[in-house]
Symmetry: C2
Subunit: 449 residues, 2 copies
């Protein structure tokens, strides 16, 4: 019988790490994994009840102490990370994977700064979201409360543990973090820093739980909701992880499957703006979900706009896959197939198509879009307003780069992910979207007629 103990204050850290390793060795039986995960869920639920009432000061102390710990342990974290990277390389993982896994001193400092920034944000719990006085004198307030227990399933990036743990803590939610087994040593050390913060603030350690089970069955258990002890799941990783979570989760999910981001260059676009915005949207970083994947050019502006836009992309080293009009303006452009309109490249490749005005752009986006982020470039405010209104995406942009699709850029002080669903959260999921609410009614003896 395997018992999953919640780490507690005053315990020797090295011993704790050994326990985790021990558990990993023992956790090969599915029945045990189920019991461990259920027990983690129950402990997290208890922690969530305490955390919901925790004062802002305590939560901020925990974040600041965790930041200090991360700075102090930077070398240890980098050493643990080097061990993860070496093992991942030995297992033949791709260069892109190794890049996401690898930490340097700047990354570690960034984690600490992230914690400090989140500590400095206003407490999202207890905000009065609405207040109305009824004719009978009742005062009704809608007040923000935490959601409960949030499960975060992530792959290679160790920094997700810090971002997710900190955002959940600040918003009064307990977090159950399940990182990829390849980042296990890095994430375990980072988690210890978060625990040190909780300990210093006298907050329950189960407020931020790291799943100590490498077996993938642990993910399956989280998808079932841990016996009602998990309120929402946030998957952070590649398409296959998100698709699995969306298909199998029995609890709500905040996620986006893909970011098939469009830029529509209208007949009334300023060409200079279009060139600048398109280049930044496509090429600033090609691997982020807000990177542009398809350029739509208004037929009525194609004579002046299409060639310069396509040449700029090609000259900058971006592969262009276009319709016949696009291929006609530059011999370097390759032909696009139907599959290209549905492809999120996450690479220096773009699909380009000439469309019949705003209606054509709207129809193309309605057919191929992923409800993530889409942009219109135009000096015509009527066309812009219609685009912003009619495109059914979480983020719709007029005359700015699509790479602003990011909680930090929105001023949210970080994000736990970007959601394309319509329930509860949509777009960058920051502290506000990690809260629910309740109604407080203040009376003076009123009864209902």
């Amino acid at each position: 019988m395997l018992i999953c103990e919640t780490p507690h204050a005053g315990r020797d850290e090295e011993q704790m790490k050994k326990d985790l390793d021990l558990k990993l060795v023992r956790n090969d039986e599915p029945a045990n994994i189920r019991a461990v995960m259920l027990s983690l869920g129950q402990a997290a639920r208890k922690a969530a009840h305490l955390l919901a009432l925790a004062p802002a000061d305590a939560k901020n102390t925990a974040l600041l102490v965790a930041a200090r710990e991360i700075r102090e342990k930077a070398e240890k974290i980098l050493a643990a990370n080097a061990r993860d990277v070496a093992e991942a390389r030995a297992h033949g993982l791709t260069d892109a994977f190794l890049e996401r896994l690898t930490l340097d001193a700047k990354h570690v400092d960034g984690m600490a700064r992230g914690l400090e920034e989140i500590a400095a944000l206003p407490d999202p719990v207890g905000r009065v979201l609405a207040r109305f006085e009824r004719p009978n004198g009742l005062i009704i307030e809608r007040v923000a409360t935490p959601l409960g227990v949030i499960g975060v399933i992530f792959e290679s990036r160790p920094s997700v543990a810090v971002d997710a743990g900190a955002l959940c803590l600040k918003s009064g939610n307990a977090a159950i973090l399940r990182g990829g087994s390849e980042s296990f040593h890095s994430v375990s050390l980072i988690h210890e820093c978060l625990l040190a913060g909780l300990r210093a603030a006298d907050l329950p350690l189960a407020a931020i739980t790291l799943v100590p089970v490498k077996d993938r069955a642990a993910v399956g258990e989280m998808l079932t909701g841990l016996g009602g002890n998990l309120d929402v799941i946030v998957p952070r990783g590649g398409r296959s992880l998100v698709a699995r979570v969306e298909a199998e989760a029995r609890v709500p999910v905040f996620a986006h499957l893909e970011g098939l981001v469009h830029i529509y260059v209208d007949r009334a676009a300023d060409l200079g703006k279009a060139l600048t915005i398109l280049r930044n949207s496509k090429l600033r970083r090609t691997s982020v979900c807000g990177a542009a994947e398809t350029l739509l050019v208004d037929r009525a502006g194609a004579a002046t706009h299409l060639a310069p836009l396509v040449k700029m992309l090609l000259d900058a080293g971006c592969e262009v896959r276009g319709d016949t009009a696009t291929q006609a303006v530059d011999a370097r452009a390759k032909p696009a197939t139907d599959e290209d309109w549905s492809s999120e490249y996450l690479d220096a490749i773009i699909s380009v198509r000439v469309v019949d005005g705003l209606d054509g752009a709207l129809a193309h986006i309605a057919t191929y879009g992923s409800h993530h982020t889409d942009c219109i470039i135009t000096e015509d405010n009527v066309a812009a307003d219609r685009f912003l209104r009619e495109v059914d995406s979480a983020i719709v942009i007029h005359n700015a780069s699509t790479q602003f699709a990011d909680g930090g850029e929105f001023g949210f002080g970080g994000e736990i992910g970007i959601a394309t669903g319509r329930m509860h959260a949509r777009g960058p999921v920051g502290l506000e979207q990690l809260t629910s609410f309740k109604y407080r009614i203040h009376g003076s003896g009123q009864t209902r007629p």
Copy 2:
């Protein structure tokens, strides 16, 4: 092969009714039911896309014309209802069921007035929920949008079709209504009035769909989400319906399983207020989810408060099931068992217990509560604030009747239900909670560094 046609404008109503009856006769094969339901879902999704962009005027016209139709067809509706009631009686349904099913002229007028009231409310779509300007000059707005397609599964009350259809329409959502087979004739006629409204406003008739399938398999199909064409389900009915929907639905659910409502009378309660509020909370209507089910009395105030409260209840004809202290103050009080603390009576019965102050009350509610509505009666604002903060219920009340737990009383112009979950909606679900949002970004050429 059965084809489910969406009724269309200009079609003769009698013919439409015959078609529905015809479908009922044919719809005995599960494969057909699946095909019919999928087809309804697809039509509703298309309608939702149009409805999301419909101007407020068109939606309000539809509501007002539907109200007029209901007034004009009042006699027909009452006749159809009489047929439903007669059939239900012949099938041996309970008096309580028949009472909920039965309509009179006042009910029908109330339906029409409800439609007019919802038409008069501000349009919830397009509201700017938040607006922030970033240091780089970007202006970011969070704007309300519809949710999509809302499924409503209800039992005996025909008026739910009007409330739900109207709230969904006003909030730009398509509705798929599935009423109990016992109310089929009444609801079909009411639905025709709603369709007349849509037709007059040139809105798609699939915006408000009545499931033309009596077979319970139709509910099962809705719970699967109709091939991704249903975004949320609202069950309106008894505990067994809600429990089934909550257990089986593969889409989000707005619901409450029960309303185990507590009133805590603190040591610092004003006895007069306590008597008035308790009586109204328990006895105004005993069958509503906001009716009080358990009275908790502070031990420190029991000497002065317990006896008058218990005697008032007993004198008013309410059965009292109490702990030993309660039984001691009046011989008419019966002993409470452990089961009583978990019982939602929905009847003139109350459980009564003396607790050790606010901590005792909070502990009792945390153990037995249903996260619906709970109330403290006290003149001590510190105690009240702590109760409102620490009780984890959708609605927490200080010094007012628990029967105010109602969207109409909140000023929401009606509600589609009351939710006890924490995702998206909580408490009375009105127009605002039937919306999602998106982000509109207004730029002037900004790119991300």
